[in-house]
Each structure stands twice: as structure tokens, then as C-alpha cells.
């Protein structure tokens, strides 16, 4: 899922400076699962902003709402009109939601309450880890299911580099070297021969280096 985290309150208060009517809009998709922008977080944000503005002597009127998702047009449709009642909408969705509101609701000023960080897995309650970079050219079948694009600091296709020491990454010794993990995994699967194959120079075009990506499936189009 997409992992995000709340922006510092000072940044948010500065962002909404001068705004008198605000809609805080949560999302029940990924950001609710990673406890950044769901129902609970909307309530916390509303109370925190209200308290911060009261401290500053600038009261603010806040409404709260949470959509099933902010990345699908059907859920955003009511916002096109409702949003006009407010000076701004503070979206607690990932950057996709913020972009989509900006694009589909032309009369609305939308602001981001979160920093969208990565695609990750939930390791335990309160702990998330990056596992995928959305590079558009998956090679996991060659690497024992472990991704060097997302999990190697240098995104190496042929690792490990010389900085892998005792199974740790030279960039951050707290991070396991993913190429060591790949080697161990392939060994355990009797596929260590894979390590000897040299991967070709990577084409980064599908990763977004060739501009914003778009996917089309004609069989699903309206």
C-alpha cells in the first residue's frame, strides 16, 4: 500500500494561514490502513488545528469528512459542489488524492496534510517498510522475490556492491544489504546460479523517467 505520514503541525498551520472555513477530508484507502489519513487522524487533525489557531487568536471553522477513496472520480463527485463552501480543503489522502481533487474540482483550493513516502508493507502495528518502487519493470522472479530497485540504496541490478559489509548496507548499517538477502534467499531455493547472470543495463523509462505514466485497457474503457 501507499505509506504516508502527517506533515509537521507548524507547516500545516502556515499552509492554512488566513483560511477561515476549512474542510478536512480523510481517505479510507491506504492512508487509513497506515494510520495517516483515516477517520481517527481526521479527528486528531481537526482538534490540533483548532487548538493551534485558538492559541494564535485566529479561530477557524472546521468541517470533517472522510471518503472511501480520493483516487476515484465517483467518490469525489459530491466534493465539486460541497467544496465551494470552504476556503480550502485539507486532504489527508496521499499525493494521488490531492492531485485528483486539484484536477477534477476546478474551483477548490486543495492542500496536502501528509507527506507521501513510499509503497510499503506493514511489519507490525506502527511500523512500515519500503518494499516496491513502482519501477514498472519487475525483476522479482530473478531475485528470489526481493527487490533491489526499492531496497538497494544504489538501485543496483547486479549486486552486491563493495560497500556490503557483514550483510549490512554501507549507506546505513541499520539496513540489511538486499543483495545479501537475495543471495541467501536464492541459496535456500537452490537457485544460486541466478547470481552469476548479469542483468542488462536497466531501461528506466517505465519507472517514470519518460514522464508521467498512464495505463490504458481498452476492454475496460466505458
Amino acid at each position: 500500500m501507499i505509506i504516508a505520514e502527517r506533515k509537521p503541525m507548524k507547516e500545516i498551520l502556515e499552509m492554512i494561514s488566513g483560511i477561515k472555513r476549512l474542510l478536512i477530508l480523510g481517505c479510507r484507502g491506504c492512508v487509513a490502513v497506515c494510520s495517516a489519513g483515516g477517520d481517527k487522524e481526521v479527528n486528531i487533525m481537526a482538534e490540533a488545528i483548532s487548538l493551534g489557531r485558538e492559541q494564535a487568536g485566529e479561530p477557524i471553522e472546521i468541517d470533517r469528512d472522510v471518503l472511501v477513496r480520493q483516487c476515484d472520480p465517483e467518490y469525489l463527485e459530491p466534493l465539486r459542489e460541497k467544496g465551494k463552501e470552504y476556503d480550502a480543503v485539507l486532504s489527508m489522502a496521499c499525493g494521488v488524492g490531492v492531485n485528483f481533487i486539484a484536477e477534477t474540482c476546478p474551483d477548490i483550493r486543495v492542500l496536502p496534510a501528509l507527506n507521501t513516502t513510499f509503497y510499503g508493507a506493514n511489519l507490525s502495528s506502527g511500523e512500515w517498510k519500503e518494499m516496491c518502487a513502482g519501477c514498472g519493470a519487475c525483476i522479482l522472479h530473478l531475485t528470489g522475490g526481493l527487490c533491489p530497485v526499492a531496497r538497494c540504496a544504489k538501485h543496483l541490478s547486479n549486486g552486491p556492491c563493495g560497500g556490503s559489509v557483514n550483510g549490512r548496507c554501507e549507506v546505513d548499517p541499520n539496513t540489511p544489504c538486499v543483495w545479501q538477502l537475495i543471495y541467501d534467499k536464492l541459496n535456500s531455493l537452490n537457485l544460486s546460479e541466478n547470481m552469476k547472470k548479469i542483468m542488462p543495463i536497466r531501461d528506466w523509462t517505465p519507472s517514470g523517467e519518460g514522464g508521467p505514466r498512464r495505463r490504458l485497457r481498452e476492454d475496460l474503457l466505458p
Binding site: 509537521p8 503541525m9 507548524k10 498551520l13 481517527k40 479527528n43 486528531i44 481537526a46 482538534e47 490540533a48 483548532s50 487548538l51 493551534g52 489557531r53 485558538e54 492559541q55 494564535a56 487568536g57 485566529e58 479561530p59
Partner: protein
């Protein structure tokens, strides 16, 4: 006890105090200016509820009194509450509000006295910090 200017709200569970605030005040046990909110478990308490106590209920300080960490009736309720208090402290700090205005206490179960002690500790803080500034 002398009356304090200011308001303190304390969240307790059914196990840390078996009485509401009024009888305790009438008996002269609980200081003036302190309100108690009893919950089935402090683990039920949300960060937004603590902030709401400062916000809508105009509390100057808030405390949470939960069971001792290893003796919570619901296993991890008071531990959860203490983490939420910690997160509330972080938010207060980001808002330039002294994080000492909210505190977690682990108190013995089925006795009123430790909760009253927690309230007195918060009263001392109120003397030190003064009321929460409200310009609006």
C-alpha cells in the same frame, strides 16, 4: 484545599477509581478545579479526545490514570493510553504548547488515593505553567 484558577481534566478507568468526581469533591478528597472522566478502560481513549479536552472543554491540563502497565484488566489498555499520551505530547510541542500539560500516570487499581495524588501533581504543574493561553 485552596481553590485553583484553572481546569484539569483527568481520564480514569473503572478500575483506577470506582467513584465519580462529585462524591470525592464533597468528601474534600479531590481538589477543586479537577474533573474526572471514567472510561471502561483508558485504552479506549483517543488522542483526539485528549485534544478535545484542551480545545472544546477548555482544560488547562489533562491527565490519564490507567492501571499499572503489567496489571491492566484489558491486558494492554493502559500501555496503549500511555502511547497516545506520548503522541499528544508531540502534537502539543508542535503547537508550541508545553507537553507537560498532559501526563500519563500508572496507578494502583481499586484505590482512589493514587488518582487523587495524580490530580494533586497536576495542580502543582498548573501553578507552575499557569492557564493555557487562549487568544481567541
Amino acid at each position: 484545599m485552596a481553590e485553583q484558577a484553572g481546569k484539569i481534566i483527568g481520564f480514569c478507568c473503572n478500575y483506577t477509581t470506582q467513584s465519580s468526581a462529585e462524591p470525592l469533591k464533597e468528601a474534600g478528597i479531590l481538589p477543586e478545579g479537577v474533573e474526572l472522566r471514567r472510561l471502561s478502560c483508558t485504552g479506549k481513549l483517543e488522542v483526539s479526545t485528549i485534544l478535545e479536552a484542551f480545545n472544546k472543554e477548555k482544560a488547562d491540563l489533562v491527565f490519564v490514570a490507567g492501571c499499572p502497565e503489567e496489571e491492566c484488566h484489558n491486558f494492554s489498555g493502559s500501555r496503549r493510553a500511555s502511547r497516545r499520551v506520548k503522541y499528544t505530547k508531540q502534537i502539543l510541542k508542535e503547537l508550541d504548547i508545553d507537553p507537560e500539560r498532559v501526563e500519563m500516570f500508572f496507578v494502583a487499581r481499586q484505590e482512589t488515593e493514587p488518582v487523587v495524588e495524580a490530580a494533586k501533581e497536576m495542580l502543582k504543574r498548573l501553578e507552575k505553567l499557569g492557564p493555557l493561553s487562549r487568544q481567541a
